[in-house]
């Protein structure tokens, strides 16, 4: 039986892998894809991770991975289908394989939240996108709308303002949530038209996006709709064990959850700021909590 299984290989999981190696725990990292990184792979330009003035998400993810491998972490490529409680801990079940473990660091992160309007699912990949850095280029010289008011929406608007003919930033509140310096850049950018207190009610188009209908009755003719309305935790595998808060696993900095032996690290847990540096901090804290927990059960 393993001391620990780390589920997920984003920044939180990989940081936990480094710390778990140093703690000489018997553990394995289970990742869905043979390329680690999680959501940071979607970020083209990272400028707030200390020690790297500027780096792209893919390279930083690969650096994390190499570090964990060098430290001695073992990786398994598999998709976790379910988790069951056992006598000594948990069974982590992937397709054909089952992994027995005393503890789990659950670091499966989050995914972009859907807006939940008519036309969104039907036109996904046909003008509806959740990733401006990847899909923006297909809308070069064409009009687009961005929906949201956080960091990602503001970054997307700035990025798209460089390549698209018209950029509408649609936000349901009267002020943005994102970082102040991004807000300033967006407000100063003459190419971005900001629509405050506005919501999209429907995305329309035959085979591809043609327009969006707003709650003020107006129709905006755009070829692309970029949705950046926050994230949704990938917590479904532990929902029967752990207390959740709006989908996020309830845990503080210690990463201790309401379930014995399950520790939540990174974007998947309740926290104020979901950044790379807060995720890697969780990885370290989670391993510390695992060590304390193992000490406790081993002396029982």
């Amino acid at each position: 039986m393993n001391d620990l299984i780390i589920a997920g290989s984003g920044p939180a999981g990989l940081s936990a892998a480094v710390y778990a190696s140093n703690a000489m725990l018997d553990f394995v990292v289970i990742e869905k894809f043979p390329m680690s990184g999680g959501q940071i792979l979607n970020t083209y330009d990272i400028n707030n991770y200390p020690g790297f003035e500027q780096i792209d998400g893919f390279s930083l993810g690969q650096n994390f991975r190499k570090h964990a491998e060098k430290a001695g972490a073992r990786f398994v490529n598999d998709e976790i289908k379910s988790i069951e409680r056992t006598n000594g801990g948990y069974s982590v079940i992937c397709g054909k394989n089952r992994y027995e473990t005393k503890t789990i660091i659950y670091a499966l992160g989050a995914a972009p939240r859907k807006l939940g309007v008519k036309g969104e699912a039907e036109l996904s990949g046909r003008g509806v996108s959740y990733l401006a850095t990847c899909d923006g280029n297909f809308f070069r010289g064409r009009p687009v709308a961005i929906i949201g008011g956080g960091d990602v929406a503001l970054e997307d608007a700035l990025y798209l303002a460089n390549i698209c003919s018209e950029v509408y930033l649609i936000h349901r509140r009267n002020e943005f949530r994102g970082a102040k310096y991004l807000q300033e850049k967006v407000i100063k950018n003459e190419r971005i038209r900001i629509l405050y207190n506005t919501q999209v009610e429907e995305i329309l188009g035959e085979n591809k996006v043609e327009s969006v209908r707003l709650n003020n009755g107006q129709t905006l003719y755009v070829d692309g709709v970029f949705i950046a309305v926050g994230s949704q935790a990938n917590s479904s595998l532990v929902e029967e064990f752990c207390e959740l808060d709006r989908g996020f696993i309830k845990a503080d900095e210690s990463c201790v959850t309401s379930a014995d032996g399950i520790f939540a690290a990174g974007d998947v847990r309740t926290k104020r700021l979901r950044h790379i540096c807060t995720a890697v901090a969780d990885g370290a804290n989670a391993v510390y909590s695992v060590e304390e927990y193992l000490k406790k059960i081993n002396t029982q």
Binding site: F33, P34, G37, G57, G125, T133, C134, F139, G224
Partner: protein
């Protein structure tokens, strides 16, 4: 490694093939594309001889990307007898890629 294909080779390699052909539309600057790529490579080896696999770099072959209405990458398109049999947008697992191709085998 799955072969890169150019616009002028597309018709003979993809549309005229008598096997199912999976085409991976990608770009170097797209992180998720680079995440999907090794999984496509792995499936191409598992299904060698039964299906064909190609990659299209949307930066180098914008005509193909436009022709197939690519607006989001990675996009996988499965061709059968010269027509689109199925299409998938975003990163999916190796097992899902395999199932995606096998349904037309």
């Amino acid at each position: 490694m799955v072969k890169e294909i150019k616009t002028n080779e597309f018709s003979s390699a993809v549309l005229s093939s008598d096997k199912p052909v999976l085409v991976d539309f990608w770009a170097a600057w797209c992180g998720p594309c680079r995440m999907l790529s090794p999984a496509v490579d792995a499936v191409s080896q598992q299904l060698e001889g039964k299906a064909e696999f190609y990659k299209v770099n949307v930066d180098e072959e914008p005509v193909l990307a436009q022709q197939y209405g690519i607006m989001s990458i990675p996009t996988l398109i499965l061709f059968k007898n010269g027509a689109i049999a199925n299409q998938s947008v975003g990163v999916i697992s190796e097992a899902d890629i395999r199932a995606f191709v096998e349904q037309e085998m």
